[in-house]
């Protein structure tokens, strides 16, 4: 095993990885940009090194600087987390060249899956079903012609893409030119590459993905599926494992295909093969994420496998400790991503200072979070600031527990999508498990407030004003720890009846 691991990331995932290293007895190195000086991952690690200013291109994306820090600190392995450099083959190669273990797949596997168009070809050759569509990057004119042939709705995707960037669904031929232009712009900005391709839209479809583990000795297993159909603009918001739509037979079929996909590119370490699943049980390869996923905890909670620790073991050359038949799913897990977005204002990202924080806990609740009181939520990075994961004996218990945990979650000072999650947990469609990737599109966020809320707010504001006025009038510092005197005398009388 390694001696010291550098985590080339920030936020909740950096902390997740640091914890795994700590539990393995490995020394840890954090890196940080200017606004992250007091971030939890910096305080959590054994050592911390400054990278540069806020923009990712000046800090978390600086391969040269990160390798330099690893050498200076004497780290013998680097974990990239997700996002940033996690799917950057050049970074994986740079680690290897510097004699440092990259905790992830080999660069060639990242490259093979990174070009979405090439990946489609490789998968087709390996007998993995793919979504019908254009098999190469196309000009706008070719795209329009192909779209008319495949039929609408149709999906535009960035060839170099991932994370929903540059993706568009188009419903009518008239809208295609504008959508192509917008998708290319976004792809160019995100990846420096404006190539796109088209895919038939499978609709309604569920997003179901298979978690894969592959060691360096040719052993590949899968840890069952996750359903991630609750997405907004191709950003997942809610994930669960197992999927309400997958039975044992389908799980076995999808798992076998996912293992085949991983083998086809010589994959090692943890990875995820994403599929679209149609109502008839047909599934189509979407892409493979050659890294740890945001939603990996739901799989951990139903299988009991610690995926990050397995990543460490695999990267250190260990053999998988399980065979496929050892993997059993128990109960049900759900994850809600907590983002700093305003669900009442079109999910607009919001910044601000966290003035108050109370995280849920208790049975079956797991929080993975970057939040702390006093934290400045920066608009420089992804708006996801935490994840809330629950486990229940059944899906029904998991939903009730998630609802309970969401209601316990207090984050003051910034707006979050917690109210959206509460509404989803209360919705008949979600409870019934009737999910597809357009769930959020159809879902109307209710602006109605609970009936007693206004009344309570009014009384609260009046009483606080009253106390402030009294304090100001008599110039006496009232000890906040003493009990309030605002008690209606009739209450005591009522009790004496």
């Amino acid at each position: 095993m390694f001696k010291k691991v550098l985590v080339a990331n920030r936020g909740e995932i950096a902390i997740r990885i640091l914890r795994a290293c700590e539990e393995r007895g490995l020394k840890t190195v954090a890196v940080f940009s200017d606004p992250d000086r007091t971030a939890l991952h910096v305080r959590y690690a054994d050592e911390a090194y400054h990278l540069g200013p806020a923009p990712a291109s000046d800090s978390y994306l600086r391969i040269d600087r990160i390798i330099q820090v690893a050498k200076e600190a004497g780290a013998d392995a680097i974990h990239p987390g997700y996002g940033f450099l996690a799917e950057n083959a050049d970074f994986a190669q740079a680690c290897i060249d510097a004699g440092i273990t990259f905790i992830g797949p080999p660069p060639q596997a990242i490259r093979a899956m990174g070009d979405k168009v090439e990946a489609r070809k490789t998968m087709q050759a390996a007998g993995v079903p793919v979504v019908p569509g254009t098999s190469d990057d196309v000009t706008d004119a070719e795209a329009i012609a192909a779209a008319l042939e495949i039929g609408f709705p149709i999906m535009i995707k960035a060839a170099a893409g991932g994370g929903g960037k540059g993706m568009r669904i188009v419903y009518r031929a008239d809208d295609l030119p504008r959508a192509l232009a917008s998708a290319r712009r976004e792809a160019k900005a995100a990846f420096g590459d404006d190539r796109i391709y088209l895919e038939k839209v499978i609709s309604p479809a569920r997003h179901v993905e298979i978690q894969v583990l592959a060691d360096q000795h040719g052993n590949v297993i899968h840890l069952g599926e996750r359903e991630c159909s609750i997405q907004r603009r191709h950003q997942k918001l809610i994930e669960e494992s197992p999927s309400p739509a997958v039975d044992e037979a389908l799980r076995r079929r999808m798992g076998e295909v996912a293992v085949r996909a991983a083998r086809a590119v010589g994959y090692t370490n943890a990875g995820t093969v994403e599929f679209l699943l149609d109502p008839d049980g047909n599934f189509y390869f979407l892409e493979m994420n050659t890294r740890l996923q945001v939603e990996h905890p739901v799989t951990e909670m139903v299988t009991g496998v610690d995926i990050v620790k397995e990543q460490l073991a695999i990267a250190a050359g260990r053999r998988l400790r399980w065979k496929q038949e050892d993997i059993h799913m128990k109960g049900w897990a759900i994850e809600c991503r907590i983002t700093a977005e305003d669900p009442f204002n079109n999910f607009m990202p919001t910044g601000g200072t966290v003035t108050y924080l109370k995280e849920p806990t208790g049975p079956g609740v797991r929080v993975e979070s970057s939040l702390y009181e006093g934290m400045e939520v920066s608009l420089h990075y992804d708006p996801m600031v935490a994840k809330l994961i629950v486990w229940g004996e059944t899906r029904a218990e998991a939903i009730l527990r998630m609802r309970r945990a969401l209601e316990e979650y207090y984050i003051g000072g910034i707006k979050t999508i917690i109210p959206f999650h509460i509404q989803v947990m209360n919705s008949t469609q979600f409870i019934a498990g009737h999910l597809d990737t357009r769930f959020v599109e159809r879902f109307t966020v209710s602006h109605e407030r609970p009936s007693d809320g206004r009344k309570v707010a009014a009384i609260a504001a009046a009483l606080i004003s009253h106390e402030r006025a009294r304090e100001a009038a008599v110039h006496i510092h009232i000890d906040q720890t003493t009990r309030s005197a605002w008690k209606w005398a009739a209450r005591l009388e009522a009790l004496r009846r």
Binding site: Y356, R454, L463, S484
Partner: protein, 165 residues
């Protein structure tokens, strides 16, 4: 002391007498408020129902974070009310409305021109922020009085983009 409180355009009258008795809209209510020491957080028992909320001072009142919802409660006491010569509740806005940038970013596209009639929810501007394109939509119907920005321009949070009439 009588307090006039406005929440979501609803008016409440809260009266607190010298012995601490409290009445809401003339009806006596059983209220017990306690602050969590050192925190902006309070526990309120209203007829034994338990509420926990965080309070932050804002202009003329408090922002109350309760059960995941934020309520802006504007408070006016009876002296102030008399001084103002009656209800000081703000009249509903029918005048011009400035649409501002909710986050800093770069203008990708302006979807309307001055003089356009727009419907509630219609896209006005596309703002790129956090590597995503965000559509800024009209919060109500009206006429575009003025367009303050152009594509390619960087804007700060709160900067006016469009004035709706």
């Amino acid at each position: 002391m009588k307090y006039f409180v406005y929440v979501d355009d609803e008016e409440f009258v809260v009266e607190i007498d010298e012995t601490g008795n409290i009445a809401l809209d003339g009806e006596p209510v059983d209220v017990d408020l306690a602050r969590i020491p050192g925190q902006p957080v309070y526990s309120l028992l209203l007829e034994h129902r338990s509420y926990e909320f965080a309070a932050e001072e804002v202009r003329d009142g408090y922002a109350i974070l309760l059960q995941g919802e934020q309520y802006i409660a504007r408070v006016e006491d009876e002296y102030r009310r008399r001084l103002m010569g009656g209800r000081a509740r703000p009249a509903p806005t029918t005048s011009d409305m400035n649409i501002t940038a909710p986050i800093p970013g770069r203008i990708v596209k302006v979807e309307v021109r001055e003089g356009d009639e727009v419907a509630d929810g219609q896209p006005l501007v596309i703002l790129e922020a956090m590597k995503m394109e965000n559509e800024i939509r009209a919060p109500r119907g009206g006429t575009v009085q003025r367009v303050h920005v152009e594509p390619g321009q960087s804007v700060e949070q709160g900067e006016v983009l469009i004035t709706l009439g």
